[in-house]
Structure formats: C-alpha cells, structure tokens
C-alpha cells in the first residue's frame, strides 16, 4: 500500500497533523511557528466551532464515520491535509491543541465535544491557558486532555506532543486489546463498532508511526529525510522490534515529569510497557500487510 505511494515520490503525507485552536491572532501565529519548527503539519482556526467543523464533527450522527471500501487501497493519494471535507468524518488530524479561554465555545467545551464523539474521541487533545488554576487543570485532565500547557507555550512543551500522537497510532495498530493497552480505560471503553474505524486509522497512520519512530533519534526540529527506503523495507519484511527500536519507542512513550499530576494515565502506560517489552507492538504489520 504505502510502498507504491512512496515510490511515486509522494511528499509530506508522513507528517503529523496538528489542529491548533486559539482566538488570539498572536498566539495562533506563535503556536503555528512552534509546531512547524517541530516538523508538524499545522492548521489553525480561531474558534471551537470552526475546529469541530474542520474535524467533520456531526452532532446529529454520533456513529462511526463512513469509509468507502476502496479507501484502504487508495490510501493517501486522495487524502486531504489542507482541505476541508464536510461530507464525511474523515479526520486526518493527529492532535488538537486548544486555548482554554475563548469566547463562545471554550477549550473545555471543545474537549468535551471531541471526547464525546465516537469518531473523534481518540484524537489526543491538549489544553493551553494563560492562567494557572488547578481546578481548571484537573477538570481538563479528567475530561481526557493529555496535557495542560501554561502560556506562553514553548518549544519544550511542543516536544511533549509527539508521544501522544504515537500512542494513539500504536493503540490503533492492535485489533485485540488487553488491559495494559488501555491507559485511558476509565473514560473510553473500546466498543466493538470502533474496529472498522480504527482499522482504517491504523492502516493509514501505521506508516506514520513507523517513520516517526525511525526518525526519532534525530533532532525533532530537523525535517526528517526522505523515508521512501524505510517504507519499502517495512512493507517487505515482517518486523519484530529490534532492541534499538524498542528503546526508542520506550523513550517516546516514557513520560517526562509532568507539570501537573496526571499520573493515572501515565502510570498505566508505564506499567503496560515495562513487563512486556518483547511483545511486538508492531504486530499490526504482519496482520495488515
């Protein structure tokens, strides 16, 4: 699948796509620059409602998104990183980062809508705020936010985003689930009807996960080199994680000390990783290809 696309020289489909939401022009410019410096693809909007529109949120239809059967084979080349698609909930966003205080829909409202939507709830959400209010922070984390950044946001904050995007991809790579893969088991049980959606996600995002992991040792601010070779290699050989890859992966998923307590999720993640290092997180490869 991906190898043919890669061979055609498709560019830039390999970047993580972040949707940034902020009503302040300056903060939008800042977050965009921060994200681009970290080699993310960025879309900025100035309100929660525009964010939901971009994500294809359909309040009346809280079911799985429609995916045409041919989509698996077409894969990336009709994918739309830069266009708005309103007809289906074809989400190509790997993370949403949003300001808390916005007129109309607050970042918290947006978070709730995303987490309450079957189609969107697997998208990691990060909240930013200029005010350090512990009750606010806890409320957001409890509602499912991955992180809470105090403004002004810095590069060191943005460097914490990738593990959350990778975590979601890797989680989707596994059709069967056990407890250790449920870091957020409390709030988001995986319903059976999610299988279809996640296989779709896992299919298109799987390569991203691979590429990102391989490029991880490089500085995140350096654009990753063309990875066509990696993709080809990936597709032809069923891969078990090498010790180095595992270590990279552990490095990525190992949480850095959080600014605020968010220990349940992280602890579960750590527990899940350590006893079972040899368990192929790449098992998705052999089942998919």
């Amino acid at each position: 699948m991906g190898s043919s696309v890669a061979a055609m020289g498709m560019v830039s489909d390999s970047k993580f796509h972040v949707l940034a939401v902020d009503d302040s022009v300056i903060d939008r410019k800042l977050i965009e620059r921060l994200l681009k410096t970290s080699s993310f693809q960025v879309t900025t909007v100035d309100s929660g409602s525009k964010a939901l529109e971009f994500l294809g949120y359909d309040p009346g239809n809280n079911s799985i998104p429609y995916v045409s059967p041919s989509h698996h084979h077409h894969h990336h080349h009709h994918h739309h990183h830069h266009h708005h698609h309103h007809h289906h909930q074809e989400v190509d966003v790997n993370l949403v980062i949003t300001d808390y205080c916005m007129p109309g829909m607050t970042g918290y409202d947006l978070l709730k809508k995303i987490k309450g939507s079957k189609a969107l709830r697997n998208i990691p959400v990060v909240i930013m705020s200029s005010e350090n209010v512990p009750a606010r922070i806890n409320r957001c984390l409890e509602e499912g936010a991955e992180e809470f950044f105090l403004k002004p946001v810095r590069l060191s904050d943005v460097n914490r985003l990738k593990p959350h995007m990778l975590k979601t991809k890797l989680k989707c790579d596994k059709p069967e689930r056990t407890e250790e893969d449920e870091p957020d088991s409390g709030s988001q049980p995986q319903a059976p009807e999610q299988q279809h959606h996640e296989q779709h996600e896992q299919h298109e995002q799987h390569e991203h996960g691979q590429e990102e992991l391989r490029s991880q040792p490089q500085s995140q601010q350096v654009p990753t080199p063309p990875q066509d070779q990696d993709q080809d290699r990936l597709q032809s050989v069923p891969v078990l994680p090498t010790p180095q890859q595992e270590q990279e992966q552990l490095q990525l998923l190992q949480p850095t000390p959080p600014q605020q307590s968010n220990n349940n999720k992280r602890k579960a993640m750590e527990d899940g990783l350590s006893p079972d290092r040899t368990r192929p997180r790449y098992s998705g490869i052999t089942t998919m290809v």
Binding site: I26, L30, P152, R154
Partner: protein, 157 residues
C-alpha cells in the same frame, strides 16, 4: 565578510536587549521568539511584534473609549480587553506592559474608575516606551542585515 560596522551594530543590539531585560521591559519569552526565527521564517519576530502593535493599539483605544463613558462604564468589557492585552503581551515577552494590565484589571474588577484611569495612563506610557524601543531594535537589526549584504524583505515599522 563582517566588517567593523556589523560587529558594532550587533554589539549595539545586544546592549539594547540587555538593557531592556534589565529594566524588565522584556522577559525571556522575547528570546523564545528570537529562537523561533530562522532561514525558513526570517522575519518572524518583527511579524509577530507588528501584529502585537496593531492589536494593542486597538485595545488601548477601546479601553480609553470605555473609560470616557461615565454613565455606564462597562467593566466587564474592559476586563475582556485587558485579558487579551495581557495574553498577547505575555506571548511576546512584554513584561512591564503585562504587569500594568494586571494592576489595571484589579481596578476594573473593583469598578474603580479613577484607579482605572490612572492605570490606563501608565499603560499607554509603558506601551509607547516598549514600541519605541522595539523599533530601535529592529532598526539596528535591519542595518546589520543590510550591512552584511544579505537581502531580507524590508519591513515598514
């Protein structure tokens, strides 16, 4: 390639920056902005700062208009404007302007009109000073860049 002039200009810029940091006009967030500027985004700092100028002047005008209104001073709206100004000042590292906003907001929350008028004066003064210093900074930078023979798009201030 760098002549004596360019070195001196760079020294001037650093001296000015150091002074602004020392006075608390700017804080480390401004340095963060500079770090985000590179070949792919060579005018990032001046672009952001120019947006800041536009937005701040609009907000200051609104604040003054709200305070002139004796009958029904809309303190809530004032608070919204102040939050915006505070946020953007914080985002570019305009430390003193942000601090005056905090004091202003306290007055507005107490519906203290006289206090608000006083802090508005201070705020306008601080903003003007910041703007002139940042213009100075950009002028030195432009001279330095031109002197080094590199062509960057000119920015009107």
């Amino acid at each position: 390639m760098l002549g004596f002039g360019a070195d001196r200009l760079r020294a001037d810029m650093n001296r000015l920056l150091a002074l602004l940091f020392h006075q608390g006009i700017l804080d480390e967030q401004f340095l963060q902005l500079q770090q985000l500027q590179d070949e792919s985004s060579p005018n990032f700092v001046s672009e952001v700062v120019n947006i800041y100028f536009q937005e701040s002047e609009r907000l200051l005008k609104n604040l003054r208009a709200l305070l002139i209104e004796r009958e029904l001073t809309d303190y809530k709206k004032m608070g919204n404007h102040l939050n915006q100004l505070m946020g953007s000042s914080s985002s570019i590292g305009a430390n003193r302007v942000r601090n005056v906003c905090i004091a202003f907001r306290a007055n507005s929350e107490q519906n203290n009109r006289a206090g608000c008028l006083g802090t508005l004066e201070v705020l306008e003064h601080e903003y003007c000073y910041l703007k002139s210093k940042l213009h100075e900074l950009f002028q030195i930078e432009q001279q330095r860049v031109l002197g080094a023979g590199v062509r960057y798009p000119m920015h009107q201030n």
